[in-house]
Amino acid sequence: MGKLLFFAAIGYCLFVDLGISAGQWYSHEVAFSDWRNIPPVDYSTNAPLSAWYSGHPAKYFRQENLQQFINEPDTVTLGIDYYAFYPISCNLGSRFGAKWEIDTLLHGGVLVAKSFHGKFIIHKER
């Protein structure tokens, strides 16, 4: 009986492992977003990744930077990923109404928005 349970557990593990290589498992604990080929942005909900893939540093879009973001004198660009649904990114995702915007973020996509004094124009990048 013990052996049977052991091999059943191994079978279950293999089943879960297939999800890992497909990038599914753990996807809500660690947010994977595809920042490859995203242009440089001024602000980002995921500053390390946007800096890594674009080669240009970005400021974090977080509560402590929100006023600075709104008060920027010119139009600024903002990279948005799954972290937009986190409180740490000011729950920015809750402002999105269009299904494609939410779907993009939920499925590892990245949106790039232009913003002037906190008003957004969003377009899908990936």
């Binding site: 052991f6 191994i10 593990c13 293999l14 879960v16 492992d17 890992i20 290589s21 990038g23 498992w25 753990y26 660690v30 947010a31 994977f32 977003s33 595809d34 920042w35 490859r36 995921n46 390390p48 990744l49 800096a51 890594w52 893939y53 590892g108």
Partner: protein
């Protein structure tokens, strides 16, 4: 015995497939990007993977994840060698357990540390008191063929890629890596026969007092 080796080899192949299949396909996760910056710019963390990445100039998704995947795969035969009982079952468990597979596919140091932990499992319990005073432990490394080989390898690697060692200092090696890579250090101490050398050194010191 031969059959067991074949079985462990097959399990290791499965582990390798689970860890290397499509390794570079997914984009980096935020913490992996942090590790990528450590490799690019240097820093005080994750010494062995960081150094490996700097040495071979690894910056792609596959490259940054290569060492954890390799160590995660090698942990399977290591577990077989170390375990007293249920050797094949232990190896199989390590090969497929999702948490081990997941962290072996990330550019994070946990699978590397886990590999050394398994290798040094028996040895490091008796090493802990000594390693808390690392300078004493390092004094006891015997200059046998393994120790000289490691020193020679380090020197050759330094000549090949001196930039891979930028930002390193004795303080960083002594403080930061001591806790993270304690198991790795115990492996080095083990192959350099530190224990017997330290014992004889200690008895010599005691005999000086008596």
């Amino acid at each position: 015995m031969k059959l067991k080796i074949i079985i462990v080899s097959l399990i290791t192949l499965v582990a390798g497939y689970l860890r290397f299949h499509g390794l570079g396909a997914n984009p980096l996760w935020v913490d992996e990007a942090g590790f990528g910056f450590l490799v690019q710019q240097g820093g005080n963390q994750e010494f062995i993977p960081q150094w490996f990445g700097q040495l071979f100039g690894l910056h792609s998704e596959f490259g940054l994840r290569f060492l954890p995947a390799l160590c995660g795969t090698l942990t399977v035969p290591a577990m077989y060698l170390i375990a007293d009982k249920y050797k094949i079952e232990s190896a199989l468990f390590v090969a497929v357990f999702p948490l081990f597979v997941f962290w072996s596919r990330m550019a994070r140091p946990y699978a590397v540390a886990g590999f050394f932990l398994v290798l040094s499992w028996r040895y490091w319990w008796m090493m802990i008191p000594a390693l808390l005073t690392t300078p004493i432990a390092l004094v006891g490394v015997k200059l046998n063929k393994w120790a000289l080989g490691l020193l020679a390898l380090g020197f050759v690697l330094f000549l090949i890629r001196p930039d891979a060692f930028r930002g390193w200092s004795l303080l960083q090696l002594g403080v930061f890596s001591r806790f993270w890579y304690l198991p790795a250090l115990t492996v080095i101490l083990y192959i350099t026969k530190w224990e017997s050398f330290y014992s004889s050194l200690r008895s010599d010191i005691v005999s000086l007092w008596t």
